[in-house]
């Protein structure tokens, strides 16, 4: 049987967004969009929820620490993938940053209800696959994958 390539390699959705660093009022706009796109695509509720949580925490990080970030959302028949590539200070010690409770947040971030050193842990816990790389002085690259049931 011949299966058309379009069906086997079908990308249901691919889109990109920009997050502006330091703009605390805009924090959450991108994740709200991601959530609504996934809902419209008919993705199951728990997958939408995980994707919204990881993108929201990532967005808070970008707004808090980076200059800007490009976000890509890709949906294929097996998974939802969100990549966040920021231009920013980078993370000198990823192992330390991944420890729950470790934070460099300032008062502004704490006033938003964040900055308790849980963001990256939440992202890791709600992703099926989580990849983080960072270069000091250049930026941080997060890749979160959530498998569909």
């Amino acid at each position: 049987m011949i299966i058309p390539v379009a069906e086997t390699n079908q990308n249901l959705y691919c889109g990109s967004f920009t997050i502006e660093g330091g703009n605390f009022n805009s924090a959450g706009i991108v994740s709200t969009s991601i959530k609504s796109i996934l809902k419209k695509l008919g993705i199951p509720g728990d997958i939408v929820r995980k994707a919204a949580i990881v993108s929201y925490e990532a967005e808070i990080n970008v707004v808090s620490y980076a200059k800007k970030a490009d976000v890509t959302l890709t949906v294929d028949p097996e998974k939802v993938c969100i990549e966040v590539m920021d231009e920013g200070p980078g993370i000198p010690n990823i192992e330390l940053a991944m420890q729950e409770g470790w934070s460099t947040a300032d008062q502004r971030i704490r006033e938003m209800g964040f900055g308790a050193g849980m963001g990256l842990c939440n992202i890791k816990n709600y992703s099926d696959l989580f990849d983080i790389t960072s270069e000091v002085g250049k930026g941080t690259h997060l890749k979160m994958t959530i498998h569909k049931p």
Partner: protein
């Protein structure tokens, strides 16, 4: 119970969502740390909090929270109210402190959206 009953029990003022008071609610989660809300709160729960900025509404939207209950008489900012209207998330405000708010709802049958976290690191 209905959100209308929550309003009565807490002697609360409805700031956004007068039209949503017939919505059924069964569970709640209380915290001022939004990362904890994201880590633990469940869809359809009420969020009891003292935080009033737009991130409360963003967090509630991400999790499909049924309603935001502001405690300690807190009033949301204009931006928060506008965003809650746009995203159709009810906001009520009560003068009761968080402990009293939770206790009064609990005795009337509202339970936590989870009872305990699963392990020592506080993850669920």
């Amino acid at each position: 119970m209905k959100l209308r009953d929550v309003k009565d029990i807490l002697d609360a003022e409805v700031i956004v969502g007068e039209e949503s008071l017939d919505q059924e609610v069964k569970t709640a989660f209380g915290a001022d740390l939004m990362s904890d809300v994201l880590a633990f709160a469940k869809s359809g729960s009420m969020l009891l909090t003292g935080l009033t900025n737009t991130q409360v509404v963003r967090t509630a939207n991400v999790l499909d929270i049924a309603a935001i209950i502001l405690v300690r008489g807190k009033k949301p900012s204009t931006e928060t109210v506008a965003l809650a209207r746009e995203l159709k998330i009810p906001i009520l405000t009560t003068k009761y402190i968080l402990f009293e708010t939770a206790g009064r709802l609990y005795t009337k049958g509202i339970v936590g959206c989870l009872q305990k976290v699963d392990n020592t690191s506080g993850r669920n």
